[in-house]
Amino acid sequence: MDQKPETNAEKKTGIYKDKPAVANLGIMLFYQALADQGCKCVQINWIPEYKQSEEIEELLDEFL
């Protein structure tokens, strides 16, 4: 049976050849589910920068 030719993206990343390695941002549940399935993964504790109102942001500039 003829093998399907690899796309350029697959050639670059080898995403379907090797087991995936995942860096998970945010939700811990996703990291845990991958880890439970034996996937190589790391959890990165990152949250988007929090934005307050303009007034509070100005006060934070002054006092922090």
């Binding site: 811990m28 509070i56 006060l59 934070l60 002054e62 006092f63 922090l64």
Partner: protein, 421 residues
Amino acid sequence: MDVKQRIAEANQQAAECLTENNPYWVDIRPAGECVEGLEDHMILHSGPPVDYENMVMLHRRGMVSAMLFEGWAKDEKEAVEIIRSGEIKIDSALNHNTVGAGTGIITKSVAMNVIEDRRNHTTAATFPAEGPVFQGGFCGWGLYNEGIAENLRYMREELFPPMREMLAKNGGIAIKPILAESMQMGDENHTRQTAADLLFDKQVLPELFELDLPKEQIMHTVKYIVETPRFFHCYGQGASRAAAIAADGMEYSTMVTAVAGNGVEFGIKIASLPGQWFTAKAPMMKGRYTSTKYTEKDQLPWIGDSCVVEVAGMGGIAAAASPIVCNLRGMTLQESIAQSREMENICITCNPNYVIPNLDFDCLPVGIDMRLVLKTGICPAIHGGMFSYEGGLIGAGMARVPMECFQKAMKAFAAKYSDRK
């Protein structure tokens, strides 16, 4: 020195009030003798100040029960009339050197534990544990009947004299070593005091047995201590409150010195803004109920002052110390650790007295800085007990202090300290 430097310096000093504290349980005395500013015909309650008309039913019932307990009214009807006439002064317990745990109803004759902070030169008074669970429930849970009143009198007249004699003999019981050791044994000292209770018993019971008193009298007190769940909770609260009071009034400090709810509103206080409350709608706790018959419809929004322990770096701040408590809400060990790590982002420093195995022997964070809460968007995690609208404890869980409290506090801070007016 610019304002940012002044804040940094003040916060360092404020945080040292929490980390360097040296609390001792020294006595049990009527509230009228140890709660500063508690006048005759005055009733204290938990959470930010609230009028009788705007109180939840638990607080209203507490007001009435206090009137009857003190003999200020002959029945419920008269008690309500007198309260509504304005003859009775009503105030937040956290406007005084005390803590309103649960409903936090305090009047002059209630016996209180006295905690003396020998580093900060402050004292705090806390409502004692009301004994083993019995059918009548407890005053602190927003319940009241003659049986509960009788129990309070029994504690005062029968159970406490041996304790007072022991304290007079030994000069006081050090609270901090018990807190520190118990934090390494699975307690976060808000929802869980299992280890602290045992450490306390180990120290106190032999001293009680050595008193020259009838065995039967000593045994009543001993049974009260060992059969009461979470007996040590009030001592942790007293130690925390005595430390936080020391930071109150510290100019330029942005550290949080009180966190509490009254079932309607939730409020915080800031060290440099003494006497002011910054409030928002009281949050609902998420957690586990004691019975499947309870749902969120039964649950009162946050009520109680016991978050004084979070102010001092325990409870929700110390989740990593007690994965057992967090697991009651379905959290994993990793998530418990993550909760304390998250709190590091909003705290001024860490407490070298509370070194936690689950944190690879890092110290717990301590001293909530309102600026960091606003900057990061991370609201302090607080543990506590869930109350029913009808009164009584129906579960335990966690909530977050509302962001609105910090936003209001920051505006008040700016009104006092900003040069950009």
